[in-house]
């Protein structure tokens, strides 16, 4: 095992990785932008290096500054967290060239997953069902129209290389397709430097269910069961849980087995090692591959709490070349866990709401874990995502976890900026949520104020 780790991220995930790494005896090095100089993840690290001004391109996305910080501090390994440089193969290669271990999959594997059209083709080749769509990217409107006719409306238009809900639009007709194509092509060019979009069938009410993967560099590969992340706004997750209500109490065992087998097949096709996630849409008893994420997910704690598998700890051990000692039959679910993403945003219109955290008092109690990126008195700036904290609640059953969640949410005291705790309270009190009747458009029809 290496002895020092630079954490190339910020907020709650930088803090969480630091805590795990220090518990394993590693020296942790934080990096930060001027906006985060006073943040808990910086204070708690053994050492901290300033990267630059607040905009991500000048700080957390600045590959040169990150590598320099790692060299100057003698970091033997770098953990990228999620977002920022976590899926950047160029950064992973730069680490390797500098003699630093990158905690993540091999760069070749990352490259295969990053381009969504290529990822889709690889998954389909491995026998994994994919969403009906354009075969590869379409570069102009005519090609897009022809593909849409073949797939059938409504279609989802996505910018290649996109993610996190950026560069996506739904089109219900040829006229809408023209508008959606132009918007996504613009976005692809602005964000990723090329004019490439792809199309796929749009499902009106699917579930989003994903499978956690863990693999070592000696070809041992495990699936660590599913998570459901159907509660979303603007294609971004708001509440996640493990397991999925679709499979509670042993329901739909055949579908679950097919999905976990497909996730393993996809991971093998990508040449995967370390922690990753295979995402699926599930609709009417069928499932379709969306993408594989080459990183730790935001929602990994619900898997950790219900399977007892320490995902970050394993990421570090695998990166150090250790062999997975877990066996597939060791992976069993015990109890249920829910994760609520506490965002600095208006709880009705979901508008971003940066500002001061005058009061920030997370709840404590049985089955309650809070991974927070900020502390009381901190300032939430517009430069980064709106995630303030993750409230993770577990219980013996889903019903118990929901009951504890309602209590925990009521006691979560945040003042100084708008936040979505009131939205989470409406969700846990919603009858459809309690019944596990979830789909990705849930928030358009439920949990209204």
């Amino acid at each position: 095992m290496f002895r020092s780790l630079l954490i190339a991220n910020r907020g709650e995930i930088a803090r969480r990785i630091g805590t795990v790494a220090r518990s394993m005896g590693l020296r942790t090095i934080a990096v930060y932008s001027d906006a985060d100089a006073e943040a808990p993840f910086v204070r708690e690290a053994d050492q901290a290096v300033r990267l630059g001004p607040p905009p991500p391109k000048d700080s957390y996305l600045n590959l040169e500054a990150l590598i320099r910080a790692a060299k100057e501090t003698g970091a033997e390994a770098v953990h990228p967290g999620y977002g920022f440089v976590s899926e950047n193969a160029e950064f992973a290669r730069a680490c390797t060239e500098a003699g630093i271990v990158f905690v993540g999959p091999p760069p070749e594997s990352m490259g295969r997953m990053k381009d969504k059209a290529q990822a889709r083709a690889l998954a389909a080749g491995a026998g994994v069902p994919v969403v009906p769509g354009s075969d590869g990217v379409v570069g102009d409107l005519r090609a897009a129209s022809e593909a849409a006719e073949r797939i059938g409306f409504p279609v989802l238009v996505k910018a290649a290389g996109g993610g996190g809900g950026i560069g996506m639009a739904v089109a219900g007709s040829q006229a809408e397709l023209e508008k959606a194509f132009r918007a996504c092509a613009d976005r692809a060019r602005a964000a990723f430097g090329r004019d490439a979009v792809y199309l796929e069938r749009y499902f009106p009410a699917p579930r989003h269910i994903e499978v956690q993967i863990l693999g070592d560099t000696q070809d041992n590969l495990l699936q660590v069961l599913e998570r459901e992340c159907s509660i979303q706004r603007r294609h971004q997750k708001v509440v996640e849980e493990a397991g999925s209500p679709l499979f509670l109490e042993g329901k739909n065992p055949e579908l679950l087995r097919r999905m976990t087998d497909a996730a393993l097949a996809a991971a093998r096709a990508f040449g995967y090692a370390n922690a990753g996630t295979v995402e699926f849409l599930v609709s009417d008893g069928e499932f379709f591959f969306i993408e594989m994420n080459a990183r730790l997910q935001v929602e990994h704690p619900v898997t950790e709490l219900t399977t007892g598998v320490d995902l970050i700890g394993w990421q570090l051990r695998i990166a150090a070349g250790e062999r997975l000692t877990l066996k597939q039959e060791d992976i069993q679910r015990r109890g249920h866990a829910l994760e609520f993403r506490i965002y600095a945003e208006d709880p009705v219109r979901f508008l971003p709401s940066p500002g001061p955290l005058n009061v920030f008092r997370p709840p404590e109690g049985e089955g309650i874990r809070v991974d927070a990126g900020y502390a009381e008195g901190g300032m939430v700036t517009p430069y980064y995502d709106p995630l303030l904290a993750k409230l993770i609640v577990s219980g013996k059953s889903r019903a118990e976890a929901i009951q504890r969640s309602e209590d925990a949410l009521q006691r979560f005291d945040i003042q100084g900026l708008k936040n979505n705790v009131p939205l989470h309270l409406r969700i846990v009190r919603d009858r459809a949520f309690q019944d596990g009747a979830l789909d990705t458009h849930f928030l358009e029809h439920h949990a209204k104020p």
């Binding site: 996190g164 950026i166 603007r234 600095a344 945003e345 508008l351 971003p352 709401s353 940066p354 500002g355 517009p382 430069y383 980064y384 995502d385 709106p386």
Partner: protein
């Protein structure tokens, strides 16, 4: 008529130019905040009289971005 920023963030794109006629609901400016893009729309029809922001400029909620003439 003053059209203000409805959120605190950064100007990503200015979608109109001075002298341009706009209809109610047309996108005037796109703001970016916390990794989200937020369009600022014309509250009513008019002509763009003045543009008081430029790309990459940080703005606070309530800052006037565009002035429309009826």
């Amino acid at each position: 008529m003053d059209v203000p920023a409805h959120i605190t963030g950064t100007v990503w794109k200015v979608e109109v130019s001075v002298g341009q006629k706009v209809a109610a609901g047309d996108v005037l400016v796109i703001l970016e905040s916390m990794k989200m893009e937020m369009p600022v729309e014309a509250p009513e029809a008019g002509t763009v009289k003045e543009i008081r922001c430029q790309p990459s400029q940080p703005v606070n909620e309530g800052d006037v971005l565009v002035v429309l003439a009826p």
